[in-house]
Structures are given as C-alpha cells and as structure tokens.
C-alpha cells in the first residue's frame, strides 16, 4: 500500500499535464465557426451598403441636388425623388399623429388599468397576433377600409397619403403598444406607491411619474416604428400608390396633398428597380435607396443609442 500513493500522485499530475498540452481543438474550431457566421452576416451588410452606394454613385456624385428636387420624369437622367420624399414625409407624420397616441394609450390601459380577466388576456393575445400579420395583409385592410370603405373614402380621397398613413399606423400599432408596455412595466412599483401615498390620483401618477420615467423606452419603440413605416412598400402597393408619373407636385407645406394621389420612397424604388432601363433600375434606384437607408439607419441608430444609454443609466 505504501507504493500506491506516489503512483496516484504521478498519475494525476500527468493527466493534468496532458490536459494542458492537448488544446481543445474542437472547442476552438466551434467558437471560430460561430464567430465566422457573425462575420459573414455583418459582411453581407457591408457588401449591401457598398453595392447600393457604388451603383448610385453616378447620380449621388453628379446631380444629387437635382435628384432630390426634381419630379418623376420619363427620362432617367433628369428624374428625381422629390414626390417620393414628400409622400414618405407625410406618411411618417400621419403615423406619428395616429399610431403613437393610440399605441401609448392602449399600453397605459394594458399595464395600469386592465383587470386580470379574459378580456385583458384576449386583447393581449390579439396584439401579439397582430404584430405577426404580414405587411401585405395590412395592405388589404387599407384597400378595403381606407381606400374604398363607405364614408371613409370621401375623407381619405382614395389612394392618398392619408389612406396610406392610416394603413401604416395599423401596421406599426402593435409594435408601438408592445414596446410601450415593456417600458411602462419597467418602472419601479415604488414610484406608483409614493405617488398614491401623497394623494395623487391614478392618472396624475401616470402622467407625472410613470410616463416621464418610461419615456426613453417608449421613444425607442416609436422611432423604430417610424423607420419601419418609412421603409414599407407592400401595403402601399396594395392601396395603389402611383408608380408612373405624377404631374402635380404640391409644395411641402401644402397639407391638402394628403388627399391626393401620391408615391413614396419605397414604392418609387420598387417601380424603378424593375424597369428595363438601367438608368432607372440601377443608378436611380440605388441612389434613392441610399437616401432611404440613410434616414432609416439614422432613426434606428438613434433608437438603439437611446435604449443603450437608458439601460446603462438604470443599471448603473
């Protein structure tokens, strides 16, 4: 028995030694593969941005000013996006006016007022399901209700920015509600109790304490929704945006154009991208994409930065 102990010690030592020498090849390879997938994904983003910028470069470098201010014309060399920019601007404005108050109010009800009963869980389930409905189906809703609906069509004027904006509002509403709910849910309970403790009513607590505390989170969701609304094309195609040429180009401040026929950046890009003339399908389409992506990425980055700052402030 006296010899056993040294042998065991030597064995453990040699096992430890052999473990140290034998690198975990499979583990390292796996980690490298996972990292590589991420690099490929990010590489796609880089290639995509490079492709659209280089395809659109002739337009962006030579006639950016004219491209931004001229209208849809039959010749690729002097066609521009001003009507698309106006259309997208009015669509986003309508979404901000309609979907944000409605979505935030619905979130307030769901988090602060709703009793725990079947109706509440039904509404919640319904909101989650609406968030997964394909955008093209919202186009059908827009076509039947906002473009052709009895009584509604005389208000929206048919295929107009108003009809499109209402359709996109319906599209982003579930996302606005869900993100606002998450932000409201993250407010500490102590805030509410303190408010009630000094005699504030429920609405006073919500308006003066909960909403200001949840504001960055709510704002993040609303910025993401605006970006989504600016980039959506399918519902707009269904409600009948113009893909050809519009003669009328009302000035920016003319609000009556919300009832006129219109086009928007994503639909304009779509109709250009499928044309046979490469002046439209490559150069102009790519240049319009660069302008659209610029705004969408700007909105998204603002939302992401806002959320990150908000999260680090809360945890720190």
């Amino acid at each position: 028995m006296a010899v056993a102990t040294p042998t065991t010690v030597r064995d453990t030592a040699s096992i430890a030694e052999s473990l140290r020498r034998k690198r975990d090849v499979k583990g390292v390879a796996f980690q490298a593969m996972m990292f590589l997938s991420l690099v490929i994904t990010l590489g796609v983003l880089v290639v995509l941005l490079f492709t659209v910028i280089s395809d659109g470069w002739p337009v962006l470098s030579q006639r950016l000013g004219g491209f931004l201010t001229s209208t849809l014309r039959p010749d690729a060399v002097d066609a521009g996006v001003v009507q698309g920019l106006k259309g997208t601007f009015y669509l986003c404005a309508i979404v901000a006016i309609v979907a944000f108050p409605l979505g935030i109010a619905a979130a307030i009800y769901m988090e602060e007022y709703a009793p725990q009963n079947w109706l509440t869980s039904f509404i919640q389930l319904n909101i989650r399901n609406l968030a997964g409905v394909p955008s093209v189906v919202y186009g059908i809703l827009g076509l039947t209700i906002f473009v052709k609906g009895w009584g509604i069509s005389s208000i929206t004027g048919g295929s107009s920015p108003l009809a499109g904006g209402l359709t996109l509002s319906a599209l982003v509403l579930p996302v606005v509600i869900i993100t606002a709910q998450e932000a409201i849910r993250a407010t500490p309970q102590a805030l509410r109790e303190a408010g009630f403790g000094v005699g504030a009513t429920k609405w006073e607590v919500i308006k003066d304490h909960i909403l200001p505390y949840a504001a960055p989170g709510i704002l993040t969701g609303t910025l993401l929704s605006i970006a989504r609304a600016a980039g959506e094309a399918a519902p707009l195609l269904l409600i009948g945006t113009i893909s050809g040429i519009i003669t009328r180009s009302a000035p920016w401040y003319d609000v009556t154009q919300v009832q006129d026929r219109f086009t928007a950046m994503p639909t304009l890009i779509t109709s250009w991208a499928v044309q046979p003339d490469t002046g439209f399908s490559v150069e102009n389409a790519a240049a319009a994409i660069v302008i659209l992506i610029f705004f969408v990425i700007l909105l998204n980055s603002a939302a992401i930065m806002l959320r990150n700052r908000f999260e680090s402030k809360r945890s720190g």
Partner: protein, 309 residues
Amino acid sequence: MTATNWDITELQGSPRRQQREKRVQAVVFSAALVSILLSVMIVGSLGFEAIRYITEVDLSRLWDRGWFPRNGVFDLKTLIVATLWVTLIAMVVAVPLGLSAAIYLSEYASVRARKVLKPVLEVLAGIPSVVLGFFALRFINPNLVESWLENANSSGNMISAGIGVGILTIPLVASISEDALSSVPNALREASAGIGARKLTTTTSIVLPAAISGLVAAFIVATSRAIGETMVVFIAGGAADTALFASNPADQGLTMTAAMASLAAGSDEVVGSGLAYGSLFFVGSILFLVTMGLNVLADRLVRKYRLEY
C-alpha cells in the same frame, strides 16, 4: 375641539378630479379596443371577398398551367411551390447564420464585443425589404446564383429571392435565439463546468437542449416572416404579374405575397375582372391563416421556456 366637523367627502377630492379619472380610463380603454377592431377589420375585409371569390370561381381554374389572374387562370400550386422554395432557401440561409450568431453572442462574446455586435445586427434588421430586393436582383443573382447555375433566370429567380429573404430574417432568428439561450440559467452552465465538461460540451449538450423550445420558436417565427415577405420576391423573383408553373428554383417564381402585390402594381390600382380582384383576397386569406397559425404555435413555445425558468 371640532375634530368631527369635517365630512368624509372632502377627502375624496374634487368631483371634477374624479370625473377626469373616469374620462381618462374610458379613453385608454377605447384605445386598447382599437386593436380588437383592427383584427375584426382585417378578418372582415379578407373574408367577404374571399368567400365571394371561392363561390364564383370555376374551381378547375385553381389547378391549371400557371397564375394568370387577369385571364381567369388561378393555379394555386404555382404560388404554393414558389412560396415553399423561397421559404426553404431563406431558412437554409437564415437558420445556421442566425443561430450561430446567437450562440456566439450569448455564450462566447465578451460584454464589450456584444455591445458593438448587437447594434450592427439591429441595423441589419432595420434595412427595408425593398433594399434587399434590389440587392438580391443586382448583386446576389449575377454574382452568386448565375455563376453557380448557368440555367438560372437572369431577370430574377426563386434562389436569389430566397437568399434575399434569408438575409432579411437572419437578425430575427438571431434575436429570438439569443433570448432563448440567455434565459437558460447560469447554474446549468456552472454545474456542467463543475463536473469537468468543456465549453463546447456545455454549449451543445446542456445549453442548446435547455433552450430548444425557444430555438424552435425562432425557427417558426422566421418561417412565418419568410412566407409573408413580399418586396424581395416581387423585385427579385423574376415574375411580373403572371407566372407559368415552375418547380425548378432557378426559374422565375411568384410567391403568394408577390402575386398579391403584382395584382396591385403595374396598373396603379387593383383592377381586372371581378375574379382577379377577388383572388387577391383569397390568396391573402390563405397567407393570413398560415402565418397566424405559425405565430400562435411559436408564441406557445416561447411561453413554455419562460415558464420553465
């Protein structure tokens, strides 16, 4: 002392204040009801026309040579096969890349690396689908698909469109999978390491099985998103308005969504015979039911892993 002189109603606040409370509650409640109204409107606007279409259409035209709605030929298998191809190719692209990215972010990346990489993925998630359509048609098709397959349709095909849709769904797969992986309790990882398992073994034999319901949910949600994606296929699918039946993914293809968008585009408005207009709602109803079914299924799975931990 006149301590009992005050009335209990004075403590309840002014009646105006109480009325305002009631008004606010009514307003926020009706805002919540709008979401129900939306669902009713969606089902109503789809349902009426879809039922009218199915009662009026000659059923034999639903199984014909191709999809020519303005000529009264509505072959459903043309749309279904194209949808299946595009979805399948999209999943082949999105699932490995998205899942691997999620595993790296959740299990391997340092806090600092995650802080940089996650926002970049979110930027990719925010790219509009028309842009991916353009990219699929102008870059993926000529540079990847046509250089592998000589017989690929150069004006667009199901493979290019599928890859485009796949790229679009990578961030979705990554984000849901990462949620599922990071909700696996650390105690499981520590226990595995404690009995001597390596990181690889811990990840593949402990963490992935523990998160499986969430990972399956990610797969289902991504499938649903790919089926519902419109613009990539509309631009890069190579089929405008109409399509002959094609079973080869290197040919042009018209998915259900692209067929719906085609009915509206090109003429600025959905026109044609009453049946062509009706087919829009019929295809829309199928799409709505399929995506809804998948989403409900995924929702159940996600709630399952939330309940477990």
